[in-house]
């Protein structure tokens, strides 16, 4: 079984050669790594990876296959975080070309092919992690020896893969956000979810608790929405490249309803609050990021996927730092001193990754009920 050879060209000038996985198309993007050992289906279907080439540090990926892909987005199938594969490409050391697990209906290779996403197997992924780390960020191209097309970037298709595509230079949220408003579930309280590339498990987490949700396109005017609370979702790219989203969030803050920002949503809320959000050298992407509650002795392991953080000291005085990273002390969550506004950099909805901070949803939803009764 000889596979087509593929070159990974790094922005540092290095070139590595492996074999093809998935679709034989050219691609490029920001090279990022995750150290998670499970949850590749969840990661690759996570819209936050749009424009990025994901390196899995763990060498054996695809062992338990993945369920047959979801047919209907509204079903919010488990294991998937959206209907698509958003990453620009995948780099792994060893793949699995058979289906063994009882929940599994297809292989990583087949799935990537069907989604038009290229990947490379057989590379020294630990070396790539070290390179990304030491360069403080890298870009890369995936160049199959017999490429038959290019990885689609949707609205950004004007960008050719001749250059390294940098998602942080473009308003990529527009590409992954829903095109129309959608309502799920039925309940006394409706939560409005700004979709900047929302992971399905955020929606599932709310639905499972019996709340009604409305998913909104990124540019929705908040005054057009009737809801009890707001969620600002996760999403890809640079929070400073989101047009006037900051202003819309300021507008919805005036309603004084509970707000929960997650990941990109956290960064956008911070921007709206007046803080500065800056690029990190290589971000946090793993299932083992430790965060602690500021002022308390309690800490949690979280699932994370981000390249930006709040600049130290830029947070206005009426906001408090809620969480910090145990390893590098970076800000991982904020809350308003008097108003019900909170946000976290990590993913309480996990999927994949640890579920230790799922209580944040409970706390938020309790707050929504309380707020609604006042």
């Amino acid at each position: 079984m000889k596979k087509q050879s593929v070159t990974l060209e790094l922005s540092s000038g290095k070139k590595l050669v492996g074999s093809l996985l998935g679709a034989p198309v050219k691609s490029s993007g920001e090279l990022v790594f995750t150290t998670a050992m499970v949850g590749y289906t969840e990661a690759l279907s996570d819209p936050s990876y749009f424009g990025q080439i994901l390196v899995f540090a763990y060498p054996l990926i695809g062992n338990y296959g993945l369920p047959s892909p979801p047919k209907n987005r509204d079903l919010l199938e488990r294991q998937f975080e959206s209907q698509a594969v958003h990453a620009s490409g995948v780099i792994i050391s060893q793949a699995c070309y058979d289906v063994f697990h009882w929940t599994s209906g297809t292989t990583l290779d087949t799935w990537l092919k069907s989604k038009g996403v290229p990947g490379i197997v057989g590379l020294d992924t630990r070396y790539l992690v070290t390179q990304i780390r030491d360069h403080g960020g890298l870009f890369a191209k995936i160049l199959p020896s017999d490429a038959v097309g290019e990885r689609s970037l949707g609205d950004f298709n004007t960008v050719t893969h001749e250059d390294f595509f940098d998602p942080n230079q473009h308003p990529v949220v527009t590409e992954v956000s829903t095109k129309e408003r959608k309502v799920y579930g039925k309940g006394k309280y409706k939560i409005a979810v700004y979709d900047f590339g929302v992971k399905w498990n955020i929606l599932r987490s709310l639905l499972d608790k019996g709340f009604e949700i409305e998913v909104l396109p990124w540019q929705t005017d908040p005054s057009d929405v009737d809801c009890s609370a707001w969620i600002l979702s996760n999403g890809p790219g640079n929070p400073n490249q989101t047009f006037d989203t900051k202003d819309r969030i300021r507008k919805l803050m005036e309603q004084n309803k509970p707000i929960l920002g997650i990941c990109l949503g956290h960064q956008l809320l911070s921007l709206a609050a007046g803080a500065k959000v800056v690029h990190m050298s290589y971000g946090h992407r793993s299932h083992n990021q430790p965060v602690f509650v500021v002022g308390k002795k309690k800490a949690y392991i979280t699932s994370q996927n981000h390249s930006f953080k709040i600049e130290e000291g830029s947070l206005p005085e009426d906001w408090n730092v809620w969480f910090r990273n145990v390893n590098d002390n970076s800000i991982e969550g904020i809350q308003h001193q008097s108003l019900p506004f909170k946000s976290i950099q990590f993913h309480p909805e996990s999927s994949g990754g640890p579920r230790d901070t799922a209580w944040i949803f409970d706390e938020f939803l309790d707050g929504v009920k309380k707020h609604g009764n006042e």
Binding site: F33, C96, D124, V129
Partner: protein, 1109 residues
């Protein structure tokens, strides 16, 4: 007492160790105890360690630590508490033994009486996790699913429960190490047998739903006082549920679990530790259904365990060290992981490699033992292979666990089973199942089929299939390749990608050569020497840049830069990790590999001490070892650790990477010592003894002619290749003779033939005595004393010797014998002769390093049995008793220096040290628990006291020989040994328990005025000796086999097996019985008057500097 400034006044902490090594509780607790001690001392406490395991690193009397070599029973620990008055006690680093002892101390009110505070998980919680009924109730409360089960205290209850749950069921025993007394029952008969046995050692058994075929998954969890909790890593068993996890092949991290399954079990683990308020480390075991993802919790161990030692080495997270800090009150969030130096201890390691643990079974050492694996653990050790893919890690582990194996690539020649037998072999796990699965794949059986019969996950099987595919590729290449002008051109014609792929899936050069040879029908390859072939392949690979890369284990998958020095090699990678270099002289130290019968924690002690001394001398020590249960594989035992195979190929790789050829082979036991020849031929510089010294000591002929030359007597011996020659030899020297095959044959080990009958039995067994399969026969001298001389020589001159004496007469393997230092019963003249002989041998062999010589002494005459030109098993024992660290002194010799402060002699000792063997027969169903010329013990203990009797008593109790309380049985063997009992009969009477005896013994004693209760032999009617043992009327059994009589061997064997099964103290050697009974008879006054004494420190200045004493 140490007066470190760091030690706060009265901040004393008593730490319970795990005692002698036994199956289910082995070297892993030296690792956990040693790490704990480091952490506790750092926190400013003085550690009072109670542990009679003298061969361990943790029982080194270092500053800040007082070592008490006492039995881990409440009686002795109370005495230590009474004398030392510690504030705190910690019981979670010494396995089940420590936990049981802690519970005893609490239950007897001792902790309360002396106001000793138990740190860590509360005794109530510990008891709850041990009591299966209470545990089940607690889990139900927490909404954690448990398999349907019922706790039973009678057989009737058990039968009823099993009917309700429906067969097959599993029976488990509460309060037991390694699943003792557990098993599967398919019907009522099997159930009753199991339950009877279980209830004999535990007040309660559990009858549970059998989950055969489910996946078994474990999580290692840590929680601090602030409720911060993490899982260190998870582990997936290759063998589905049903095989004890200690006997399973275990893979880290899990390979076949989805994120959802992984997180579900992780969540359950965190919930358990949080709700049970566990402080420190905890292990949780789950059953996971491969068809529905349903799960059950199986077991929770609220303490450090074998699994946590494995997890520690697999993940790079020093679990025991951090657990100790947490128990003392540190917050996980505030602690750093000392392995990485950068990440918090509140961090779950991300692995970017896979580890495979394979158990080491030594079942061939035990006659008639059952080889099937189940819920009772049987393995004596383990290894861990690390790779960037599963086949690579697995094949490494296969080579690590058995150094004669080259990997999975060679077909088993004993495999010729029909389909039915094959299916049975695949379905019913044994120590060889992995090899049968491989063979089934070779024979074309599908992954689906093997999965159906074995329930081994298809992913694992598909990975094994890759090995077979590559194997065929190698053979195909060889078959089709045209004959080249030389071996180099032949090897050069292997396609680059193929050779790379073979190495990637873990084939060793050796194994590739085997397969190339197998694939060829002509003599092209066979004409080459093995050494030349391997050398040529290595050269070919290197010239084509197919070499392994060095990677770090850093817990972060390289997310952060780390100074970690914990390394492994892989072919599944293209770049070395960045390592800091300096110009220090680097020395490789080879460890001892898997713990096994005959080589265990004592060699780890040697390797660690040697490494410390090399570091203290300002050089770089590089340890190579592959055993996760060791201290030598800890992150801070060396300058740099390669967790790697102890094979010539791998040692060469490491030597080339590190740019050194200096290697120590004599501190890890026989395994590294055996590599001396090959390393020598690859131009390594063996530190210490030269290769010709080692070779002369190992080669019987060469050693023998040396002894002849220097006129030192030895038992007569000959290498025999025909029955006629054997008879001729025996005619000359007479019976008894010692026989040993000079080739490996499973089951046929060393034997003593006492007469024609037993010789014939042996010859029946060794069917093909011939030139190809010769036997070494030697004169067996009965009634002789056996003596061990441990020493150090420099350039052929002895610089230090110490003599220890066996309590048992010659004929008991020195590893199983009870030994005493200083010798108690020797003539001054005999000692003089021994020392003189040692000096002559040292000169003759040009010994230059540690050595050990075994002698026989009879009638003031001595004979040499053998000489080992390496550190011996007895090194830690004699070092600690004499207060001279012989391993460190040896390291001085390796560095070319003369250790100076060795002028101490045994005459000056203020006390006596006794070392006794620990046996694990209770786990080895079917094995005859008798000692002889083949070693059978799994561990040892060593105790000191002012008199021999005192030290003997402590050593006996520490090795779990208990004072008779219900009844004693004497079956005294032949006439000679019967007479010896007359000496101790008054002592036996003084126990005031019924004395039972088998017929002959009873008659013999009665004739001499001693009344005993005569019991019929097994099978001779009701109320026979077996019934008494089973009913609990007898709890102490002395059974001396009459070595010549087959019938009695069998009857005796039944008595011995039953004694072990029902938890009696058992002694099978007459001299040991005499010494033991004599020491026990002093028990009363000894206990009253004995002043607890801690092991005094080494006489060097604790920094290993032998020049400044």
């Amino acid at each position: 007492m140490a007066t470190n400034k760091g030690i706060a006044r009265n901040r004393k902490l008593l730490l319970l160790g795990s005692g002698g090594l036994s199956i289910g509780q082995a070297g892993e607790f030296d690792y956990s105890g040693t790490q704990a001690i480091k952490a506790i001392v750092e926190e400013g406490f003085e550690v009072l360690l109670v542990n009679p395991n003298i061969a361990t690193v943790q029982t080194n009397p270092i500053p800040g630590v007082k070592v008490f070599l006492y039995p881990l029973t409440s009686l002795w620990v109370e005495k230590v508490i009474d004398q030392e008055r510690p504030e705190f006690i910690v019981g979670s680093f010494g396995g089940q033994t420590a936990l049981n002892c802690l519970i005893e101390l609490e239950d007897q009110g001792i902790l309360a009486r002396y106001r000793v505070k138990n740190l860590g998980t509360s005794v109530n919680t510990l008891k709850m996790t041990e009591d299966r009924q209470k545990f089940a109730e607690q889990m139900l409360l927490l909404d954690i699913p448990i398999p349907p089960s019922v706790a039973c205290s009678t057989t009737q209850e058990a039968c009823l429960a099993a009917t309700k749950i429906s067969y097959p069921v599993i029976v488990r025993c509460a309060y037991a190490l390694g699943g003792l007394g557990s098993g599967f029952a398919d019907n009522e008969k099997e159930l009753i047998d199991l339950v009877n046995q279980g209830l004999s050692c535990s007040p309660q058994v559990l009858v549970e739903k059998s989950l055969k075929g489910w996946k078994e998954v474990e999580y290692e969890v840590m929680r601090d006082r602030d409720d911060n909790s993490i899982t260190i890593c998870n582990m997936e068993n290759f063998d589905p549920l049903g095989v004890h996890t200690g006997d399973s092949i275990v893979v880290t991290p899990s390979q076949s679990l989805t994120d959802d399954e992984y997180q579900k079990l992780r969540n359950a683990s965190l919930k358990i530790v949080q709700e049970l308020k566990i402080i420190g480390e905890c292990n949780a075991q789950y059953a996971l259904c491969p068809e529905t993802s349903e799960y059950y919790i199986i077991e929770v161990n609220a303490r450090l365990s074998r699994s946590s030692a494995l997890a520690s080495k697999a993940s790079g997270y020093p679990i025991a060290y951090i657990a100790a800090k947490v128990i003392l009150g540190s917050s996980l969030v505030a602690l750093k992981n000392p392995v990485t130096g950068i990440t918090s201890a509140f961090y779950e390691p991300a692995l970017d490699y896979v580890t495979v643990k394979i158990p080491r079974w030594d079942l061939n050492k035990f006659k008639s033992v059952s080889k099937s694996l189940g819920s009772t653990m049987k393995s004596v050790g383990e290894v861990m292979g690390i790779g960037r893919n599963f086949p690579e890690a697995l094949q490494k582990a296969v080579r690590m666990v058995n150094e004669d194996s080259t990997g999975l690539g060679k077909s088993l020649d004993f495999f010729d089973k029909d389909k039915e037998t094959l299916e049975e072999t695949l379905e019913n796990p044994t120590d060889n199942r992995l090899f049968y699965i491989l063979q089934a794949l070779r024979l074309g059986y599908s992954v689906e089929f093997i999965n159906k019969v074995s329930s081994v996950d298809k992913w694992f099987l598909s990975q094994l299939e890759r090995i077979v595919v590559n194997e065929n590729q190698i053979k195909d290449f060889s078959r089709k390749a045209s004959v080249q002008k030389d071996i180099f051109s032949f090897l050069s014609s292997i396609p680059q990608d193929d050779l790379k792929s073979w190495k990637k899936v873990g084939f060793s050069d050796n194994q590739i050569i085997n397969l190339l040879l197998e694939g060829r029908s002509d003599d092209f390859l066979k004409n080459q020497s093995r050494f030349e072939l391997e050398k040529a392949l290595r050269q070919t690979r290197k010239s084509r840049a197919i070499t392994p890369v060095v990677k770090k284990i850093d817990t972060t998958s390289s997310e952060y830069p780390s100074p970690s020095n914990y390394l492994y090699l892989t072919y599944d990678g293209d770049f070395h990790d960045h390592l800091e270099r300096d110009n220090k002289r680097s020395i490789l130290i080879l460890g001892g590999g898997a713990y096994r019968i005959g080589a265990s924690v004592e060699f780890d002690w040697c390797a660690v001490a040697c490494s410390e001394q090399i570091q203290a001398s300002g050089f770089k020590s590089i340890i190579i070892n592959c055993n996760p249960e060791t201290v030598s594989t800890d992150y801070n035992s060396s300058s740099s650790l390669f967790f790697e195979e102890l094979t010539v190929e791998r040692i060469l790789d490491i030597a080339e990477f590190e740019g050194t050829k200096e290697v120590v082979v004599s501190m890890g036991g026989q395994l590294p010592n055996k590599l001396a020849g090959s390393l020598h031929s690859y131009d390594f510089n063996l530190l210490g003894h030269s290769f010709s010294t080692i070779d002369m000591a190992e080669d019987r002929n060469k050693f023998s002619s040396l002894l002849d030359k220097i006129k030192i007597d030895q038992p007569r011996w000959a290498k025999i290749s025909s029955p006629e020659a054997l008879n001729h030899f025996i005619e000359e020297v007479g019976f008894p003779v010692l026989l040993r095959p000079s080739y490996v044959l499973s089951g046929a080990a060393m034997k003593v033939a006492y007469n024609k009958e037993s010789l014939d039995r042996y010859l029946d067994f060794v069917t093909d005595l011939s030139k190809d399969y010769p036997v070494v026969v030697s004169q067996f001298i009965s009634g002789a004393r056996e003596l061990d001389l441990d020493g150090i020589a420099k350039d052929g001159e002895v610089v230090f010797t110490i003599v220890s004496e066996h309590v048992e007469n010659a004929g008991i393997h020195s590893g199983d014998a009870t030994t005493v230092v200083p010798a108690q019963r020797l003539y001054v003249e005999t000692v003089r002769k021994i020392k003189r002989a040692a000096r002559q041998i040292a000169r003759g062999l040009k010994l230059n390093g540690p050595f050990n010589i075994q002698f026989l002494a009879k009638d003031n005459q001595i004979k040499v049995i053998e000489c080992n030109a390496r550190a011996a098993r007895s090194f830690p024992f004699v070092s600690k008793v004499c207060r001279i660290n012989l391993a460190k002194a040896s390291a001085e010799v390796f560095l070319g220096r003369l250790p100076l402060s060795l002028r101490h002699t045994e005459d000056e000792l203020q006390y006596v040290g006794v070392k006794a063997a620990m046996f694990s027969f209770s786990r080895l169903k079917g094995a005859d628990p008798v000692v002889g010329v083949e070693m059978a013990s799994t561990g040892e203990v060593g105790c000191i006291a002012e008199s021999f009797e005192g030290a003997m008593l402590l050593a006996m109790e520490a090795s779990r020989v208990k004072l008779p309380e219900k009844g004693i049985l004497i079956s005294a063997g032949d006439e000679k040994s019967k007479i010896k009992f007359l000496d101790i009969i008054d002592d036996i009477l003084a126990f005031h328990v019924p004395i039972y005896a088998t017929k002959g013994t009873s008659l013999f004693l009665e004739e001499r005025g001693v009344k005993t209760i005569s019991l019929p032999w097994p099978g001779e009617g009701n109320g026979n000796v077996i019934d008494y043992i089973k009913n609990g009327g007898i709890d102490f059994v002395i059974n001396i086999p009459k070595s010549s009589d087959l019938k009695e061997l069998t009857r005796g064997s039944q008595i011995r097996k039953t004694s072990v099964e029902f938890g009696c103290s058992l002694i099978t050697n007459v001299e040991k019985a005499v010494a033991c009974i004599k020491s026990f008879s002093q028990k009363g006054p000894f206990r009253l008057n004995h002043k607890i004494k801690n092991l005094p420190g080494f006489l060097d200045n604790h920094h290993g500097n032998f020049y400044e004493s």
